[in-house]
């Protein structure tokens, strides 16, 4: 039996070095079609203060949705500036080590279950997808 329960929509904000975020999002679109629950930002050529401001602007624009901020490298400047940006925001959390399976999982699962479940799911998905393939 299916339920008609409405789940909250979420926003994914990918923040990375170089063109990785943009191309990751483009790749996801090639696989699943149009995606309007994700945005991409780069730290390239941008000062820390400006990057923090850009992230906060997106969080402020999108007050309705809980946000997951995806960063590429724990301890890099994207993760540092995302930490600074979400300080004081209780609707946003940061996940580091973003990869293609995580974003695919996010765009297909968000809005279909509770945000907490989405988060648990995609952390597991991301970790499970890093493996030696030996059949």
């Amino acid at each position: 039996m299916t339920t008609n329960k409405k789940y909250r929509e979420m926003l994914g904000l990918i923040v990375t070095h170089g063109a990785f975020a943009r191309e990751l999002l483009n790749t996801v679109k090639q696989i699943v079609g149009n995606v309007d629950c994700c945005r991409a930002l780069s730290n390239t050529g941008v000062s820390d203060d400006v990057l923090v401001e850009k992230i906060r602007n997106i969080l402020d624009e999108d007050k309705e949705r809980d946000t997951i901020v995806f960063v590429d490298y724990f301890g890099g400047s994207c993760s540092m500036n995302c930490l600074r940006a979400v300080k004081g925001y209780d609707r946003a959390l940061i996940i580091s080590g973003v990869n293609l399976p995580i974003i695919l999982d996010f765009v297909t699962k968000q809005g279909t279950m509770d945000p907490e479940q989405v988060v648990d799911n995609l952390i597991r998905r991301g970790q499970e997808s890093v493996r030696i393939i030996d059949m």
Partner: protein, 157 residues
């Protein structure tokens, strides 16, 4: 022993711990910054950013020079990081002796003039850089060890 003295407005980040880290193999990252040293939250995020094989010290500018002078870091390979030219100059004024400073990352923000792709400066930066040139320091701009070394000394007059 100081292996690299770098001006980088991001302080500890991937280019430093990975890009320079794999070349220099530092035992310690020494962050000299009055604001970060005084702010527990900022100290914590930089401390968490350093890989487990490196130690980190986060000190005020004065403490950094004092500790370097005592020689306690002499047996270690150290990367010293400051956010900008003014702080670098301050370390020299406080008695740090160094022949060369790496200008690694000075990102664009409003009102700054482009010197190189990774070096944007305002008038205060220019003044501090000039002072360091007067003190005989070589300013080499390079984001990563494998990049071309660009000597800034004649570009900031």
């Amino acid at each position: 022993m100081l292996k690299l003295f770098r001006i980088d407005d991001r302080l500890v980040h991937a280019q430093v711990v990975l890009g320079w880290g794999r070349e220099i193999r530092p035992d310690r990252i020494l962050v000299a910054d009055d604001f970060v040293a005084a702010d527990e939250w900022e100290r914590n995020i930089y401390t968490s950013a350093v890989p487990s094989e490196m130690k980190i010290s986060i000190l005020s500018l004065r403490e950094a020079v004092d500790q370097l002078k005592t020689g306690i870091f002499d047996s270690e390979r150290v990367i010293l990081l400051v956010k900008g030219p003014k702080d670098a100059l301050r370390l020299l004024e406080l008695g740090l002796r160094i022949e060369e400073i790496n200008v690694g990352g000075m990102h664009f923000s409003e009102g700054k003039e482009k010197i190189l792709d990774n070096v944007y400066i305002d008038e205060d930066d220019r003044k501090a850089l000039r002072e360091m040139v007067k003190l005989g320091v070589t300013l080499e701009a390079r984001a990563l060890p494998g990049h071309e070394r660009v000597i800034l000394n004649s570009k900031i007059v």
